[in-house]
């Protein structure tokens, strides 16, 4: 069993605690003048996303979590799971709603996503920072209105709703920043 000592702690390190995988966000070494040293650590639960704080006695060892991020191609959704393919082994990995979460808004077939694997199973999906999606439904475009800054809702091919400028039309392709869910620009086919 691989372990990390507290003096190896740094942000990004993956640990097992209470049966769940965690990632260190912040590690603070605290030590009173002549006393016991502690590591005060902020960690993110990689399954739930919840952030907790934990204190360890310095010198303690903690079990390492077998967590890796692997780029995989998104294949399809069969109504229950989203399927991703490892680009080298071509092995397919199903991920359910809990794992995919909000990333589902931005998954387009053949796009490459980062899949977080814990003990070989997906626990998180990060879509590309930018995706290009087709608008399937929106109010008719207002020609020439490129300056007012006003927006309207538009539904894209994944079913997500994005605010777009008034001049954008149904059937057009738009670039979206998946980190904010915001419209970036129109894209020519």
């Amino acid at each position: 069993m691989a372990t990390y000592s507290t003096n190896e702690f740094k942000s990004g390190l993956k640990l097992m605690m209470d049966g769940d995988p965690f990632s260190i966000i912040e590690n603070e070494f605290v030590k009173p003048g002549k006393g016991q040293a502690f590591n005060r650590v902020k960690l993110r639960n990689l399954k739930t996303g919840r952030v907790i704080e934990r204190t360890f006695k310095s010198g303690e060892s903690v079990e390492a979590a077998d967590v890796v991020e692997v780029p995989m191609q998104y294949l399809y959704n069969d109504g229950e799971a989203w399927y991703f393919m490892h680009e080298e082994s071509f092995e397919q990995y199903p991920a359910d709603k809990n794992v995919v979460g909000d990333a589902a808004n931005w998954l387009k077939e053949q796009d490459v996503c980062d899949i977080m694997l814990w003990n070989g199973s997906p626990i998180g999906v990060s879509p590309p920072n930018f995706v290009v999606l087709k608008i399937t439904e929106t109010d008719p475009g207002v020609r020439g209105d490129t300056a007012s800054g006003a927006t309207k809702p538009a539904t894209v091919e994944t079913g997500a709703v994005v605010k777009v400028p008034l001049f954008v039309d149904e059937g057009e392709l738009i670039k979206i920043d998946t980190r904010t869910g915001e419209y970036v620009s129109r894209v020519k086919e």
Partner: protein
């Protein structure tokens, strides 16, 4: 995309973080504070001394691990403080002395720690703890301007911040008070660990702004301080905090040679019990005490933290040239 190999090399060297953590203003502030410390002690007739960084022995303290190196067959310990050497000077008749030097502690790296740091340590024959507190506050005011001053005891501060009385409450009460902070880790804490945890997690953040001195640490944390004359449950020690950051540690120095030898032996036995590396006792310090250490108080301060606080910074990296992983 460029294919020029020289440009590729330059790009790579830009990716390596070679720059200092401190900016030029921080370097100038540090140089000014060093000069100010020397002027302060020169005015007061305290002599600047230098002692070796490498010694044949290190500290036996349970909570400090020494770094060491080899020269041929000989082992040398990088000093975790100049305490032993300076007490040998005092026993040899130096009178009041101070030192600005580097000290080393294994495994201590963080926002407020580094395995190598600048220490300011001074000794005052004939001073009691109150006199040393006065001088410590005066130095701090000189280095970082007048700030509110407050003096308290560990007992008072702990009761106020945690409801725990370190001199009265039993181990179970201490552990249960720690449990909400650390969960089951509390089960592995002894009495002193619990006090340390409450001090660093609850008391320190509540100390508030300004210069706060805290006295009355438990006798088990006496290190090289004598026990308080009026209460053997506490050590004749104080710590000093600025804006909640610990900056110094003072003792009314133990001068009893037999007691010092007994503390070394107890530390080494406890090290063996916990499977920690043994450190030889410093027989020359014991011999110096046997010859006669004048009644004195001494204090060690983390100079880098003083620079940090004077700069209004909140990590050592921004006031040290090459802190932690930059070295």
């Amino acid at each position: 995309m460029s294919t020029d190999p020289a440009e590729a090399d330059r790009a790579e060297s830009r990716a390596v973080d070679w720059r200092p953590g401190a900016d030029l203003a921080a370097l100038r502030l540090r140089a000014g504070l060093l000069a100010e410390v020397r002027a302060f002690f020169a005015e007061r007739g305290v002599l600047e001394v230098e002692t070796p960084l490498l010694g044949a022995t290190g500290t036996t303290d349970l909570h400090i691990e020494s770094l060491w190196l080899r020269d041929g067959a000989a082992t040398f310990y990088l000093q975790s403080s100049p305490e032993h050497a300076m007490k040998r000077l005092l026993a040899a008749g130096s009178g009041p002395i101070y030192q600005l030097t580097r000290a080393f502690r294994a495994g201590e790296v963080g926002r407020l720690h580094n395995r190598e740091f600048t220490i300011l340590e001074w000794y005052r024959p004939g001073f009691d703890l109150d006199a040393l507190m006065d001088e410590t506050e005066a130095l701090l005011a000189r280095l970082m301007g007048e700030r509110p001053r407050r003096r308290t005891s560990l007992r008072e501060a702990l009761v106020a911040a945690t409801g725990i009385d370190p001199l009265v409450d039993d181990d179970t009460a201490l552990r249960e008070r720690c449990r909400p902070l650390v969960g089951d880790v509390a089960d592995g804490l002894d009495r002193d660990d619990c006090i340390d945890l409450l001090l660093s997690h609850v008391v320190q953040p509540a100390l508030g702004a300004g210069i706060v001195t805290v006295r009355g640490f438990p006798a088990s944390r006496a290190a090289q301080a004598r026990l308080a004359a009026d209460d053997s449950r506490v050590a004749a020690r104080f710590e000093v905090f600025v804006d909640g950051v610990e900056v110094g540690n003072a003792y009314h120095e133990l001068i009893d040679a037999a007691e010092m030898a007994a503390r070394f032996a107890a530390d080494r036995a406890e090290r063996a019990r916990r499977g920690r590396p043994d450190v030889p006792a410093d027989d020359r310090l014991v011999a110096a005490l046997d010859h006669g250490l004048p009644d004195c108080c001494g204090i060690a301060m983390g100079f880098d933290r003083l620079v940090m606080l004077a700069a209004g910074a909140n990590d050592l990296d921004s006031v040290c040239t090459f802190h932690g992983a930059r070295a």
